[in-house]
């Protein structure tokens, strides 16, 4: 691609993408298994005598869920970009270094131990999943460091093996668990959205927005890093610090996403690639646009999950994989020539 990214172009593109996101969120908030009227919603909390179900559904169920979907989608897509850049591996996604199985193990332990008390309005499953995810990332990072400073192969292998090991532990726990309660966590492992307190939405949104901002600031360094360690160092990038910071932020964002929605697959893999294919690989553009398109993708997928098998619901991870796969292949075939892979 010969196109040059100018600040103006970037701002215009981000503005359009944000507009699209808002439009999608608005439309999705009107879609659901229950028909609600906006007029009834604006009548307020306690219109007339009793509780106003339209208001309850719109403000306390749909809006938080849609905003959370956007937050999770943005976090996953953005950390997907970072992992692909840092590991210089197109197959990398936010879960590649064991976050998924670590979080899964945490969730399963919370169910098996039968904890009940909530922390800051979050269920123990969410808290344990967050802790499991962060713990696993630290473990993989630590083992990776033992194999050599920023040795990519060592880090990747450590991630894959820790992932496989924890998955095996999860399967072991499932098969020795006394009752069938653990089958409930299967839904969690498939990725599942639910509405939460406004406080949860607020804090998660703040953390993810800050993470995206920080990564955007690291964009130029990430650009340099994707040409290779030595090239980056030769133009004055502190590669060690950039790597550690970007890695920590991406892992933190993924852990937050996982603690909200379980393991939603595919978003972190295909959204960054799709944006890269269509708009180019510059990280200053890739990071914010991936975040926004990740949000759009997950909000749309979650809306499908809410209505396809109504009145029941699908796990959103199923929808992201089924709807995202073919769409991505289409993009791949259409744009790969333009990018110049076929030379």
């Amino acid at each position: 691609m010969t196109e040059i990214l100018t600040p103006n172009k970037l701002i215009v593109r981000i503005a359009w993408a944000l507009l699209l996101l808002l439009a999608v969120m608005f439309v999705c908030s009107l879609i659901g298994t229950e028909r609600i009227s906006l007029k009834a919603v604006f009548a307020g909390d306690e219109a007339g005598s009793a509780v106003n179900p339209d208001y309850e559904i719109f403000v306390r169920v749909r809006i938080p869920r849609i905003v959370l979907g956007a937050i999770v989608g943005a976090a996953l897509a953005c950390s997907g970009v970072v992992f692909q850049a840092l590991l210089r591996n197109p197959l990398a996604d936010p879960y590649i270094l064991g976050i998924s199985s670590g979080a899964g193990l945490g969730a399963m332990i919370a169910v098996l131990v039968g904890l009940n008390s909530a922390v800051f309005g979050r269920s123990p499953i969410a808290v344990f999943a967050f802790a499991g995810a962060m713990g696993t990332v630290w473990l993989v990072w630590f083992i990776g460091r033992l194999t050599g400073k920023f040795h990519l192969t060592g880090l990747l292998l450590a991630g894959v093996v820790v992932n496989a090991f924890f998955s095996a532990v999860i399967m072991f726990l499932t098969s020795v668990a006394r009752s069938d309660e653990v089958y409930g966590t299967m839904f969690w492992l498939m990725g599942n959205m639910a509405e939460e307190d406004f406080l949860v939405v607020w804090t998660a949104g703040g953390c993810v927005a800050a993470g995206i901002a920080a990564l955007f600031y690291l964009g130029p360094q990430l650009n340099a890093l994707s040409f290779g360690e030595d090239d980056a160092r030769s133009i004055g990038v502190n590669t060690g610090r950039t790597r550690t910071t970007a890695f920590a932020i991406a892992a933190f964002m993924t852990a937050i996403a996982v603690s909200i929605s379980g393991l939603v697959g595919f978003v972190g893999l295909i959204v960054p690639h799709a944006v890269r294919l269509v708009l180019g690989p510059d990280h200053r553009q890739l990071l914010p646009l991936s975040a926004i398109f990740g949000a759009i993708f997950l909000v749309a997928a979650d809306t499908l999950a809410r209505i396809v098998v109504a009145p029941a619901q699908l796990p959103v991870g199923v929808v992201t994989a089924i709807a995202g796969g073919p769409f991505f292949l289409l993009l791949l075939v259409r744009y790969s020539k333009k990018v110049g892979w076929s030379k």
């Binding site: 659901g32 298994t33 229950e34 009793a50 509780v51 179900p53 309850e56 559904i57 306390r60 169920v61 749909r62 169910v111 909530a118 309005g121 269920s123 098969s175 020795v176 668990a177 006394r178 009752s179 069938d180 309660e181 409930g184 966590t185 839904f187 639910a194 509405e195 307190d197 406004f198 406080l199 607020w202 804090t203 703040g206 953390c207 800050a210 901002a213 920080a214 600031y217 809410r306 109504a310 009145p311 029941a312 619901q313």
Partner: protein, 298 residues
């Protein structure tokens, strides 16, 4: 470095603002539960809870049930609010319930937590064993002001169970292997309500104590347990007769097991034996028919 500190400071302020705005103001759980006489719209999140509600004569008040609530037939005409595993919170709220009854399963407890947060009045009951059933009936009756009906329902159920177990007491206890799934083989263990069902019907679980509630077992244990009767509740969309044929084919590999040798393999309809509800006596009778077919020949 300065930018990072600024960012940290910003996040900190954002969080503090969040806690200041939303913490505490959010919970509406304190809103008192509706008094029993005021309970006019009830939503049930499990098929056996639906059956209990109907048995207590709450037909009119039931405002929503799960997709698989198919008994009594009137339940199928009620508004559907999602499945047992994935209740649809939107649909529950749209049903405007003043009481939501849930089981104590993790998924159901989570649904109850979410509903309470939205100001719904939830009753969570535990129905894992026969004893729990009577307790649950009492608690639901208490919350809906149907104490008299509950007492009648419970004594009715108890007396029917007594009749069945009295008739069973005269006979030797047959050893029963209760098959949950065939491939891989998974059976009901001792610590289950199925075990109670078998014992009420005058049988004995062929499987001894196990770690699992529903242990997966191998061929060795099938032969060692030497069951006199094998019972399979029909699964999925297959009809009973289809599954009976498959079952005979599958079990024919264990020729020396008494149940197979004597052709005592029964596939039964799962309705009453997989759901612990007010039709418990029918379930016990279904099992008793398998154990002593000669008695029920007429």
């Amino acid at each position: 470095m300065r930018q990072w500190l600024l960012l940290l400071l910003l996040i900190f302020c954002w969080m503090a603002a969040g806690f200041a705005f939303f913490d505490g103001a959010e919970t509406r759980e304190s809103a008192g539960a509706a008094l029993p006489k005021d309970v006019q719209r009830i939503v049930s999140l499990a098929p056996n809870l639906t059956e209990i509600l109907f048995a207590l004569g709450l037909d009119e008040q039931i405002a929503g049930v799960t997709i698989f609530s198919d008994y009594p037939p009137a339940a199928m005409k009620k508004r559907k609010i999602g499945s047992f595993w994935q209740p649809n919170i939107e649909a529950v709220i749209a049903a405007k319930p003043d009481l939501v009854v849930t089981l104590e399963f993790p998924q159901q407890k989570e649904a109850a937590r979410r509903l309470r947060r939205l100001g719904c009045n939830c009753l969570t009951v535990n129905i894992e064993k026969v004893g729990d059933l009577f307790e649950a009936i009492d608690r639901i009756a208490e919350a809906t002001g149907k104490d008299a009906e509950a007492a009648e329902l419970a004594s009715n159920l108890r007396s029917r169970l007594d009749v069945l177990s009295a008739s069973a007491a005269k006979y030797e206890r047959a050893k029963v292997l209760w098959v949950i799934a065939r491939e891989p083989l998974r059976v009901a263990g001792r610590d289950t309500f199925v075990n109670e069902l078998i014992e009420l019907a005058g049988g004995e679980n062929a499987i001894g104590r196990t770690v699992h509630k529903y242990p997966p077992i191998g061929s060795e244990q099938v032969i060692a347990s030497a069951p006199d009767v094998i019972i399979e509740p029909a699964m999925g969309s297959k009809t009973v007769s289809e599954q009976q044929k498959e079952a005979l084919r599958y079990w024919s590999r264990f020729k020396n097991v008494p149940a197979v040798a004597n052709g005592r393999i029964y596939v039964i309809s799962p309705d009453t034996v997989c759901r612990l509800g007010p039709r418990l006596h029918q379930g016990v009778e279904t099992v008793a028919r398998c154990l002593r077919p000669q008695l029920f020949a007429d």
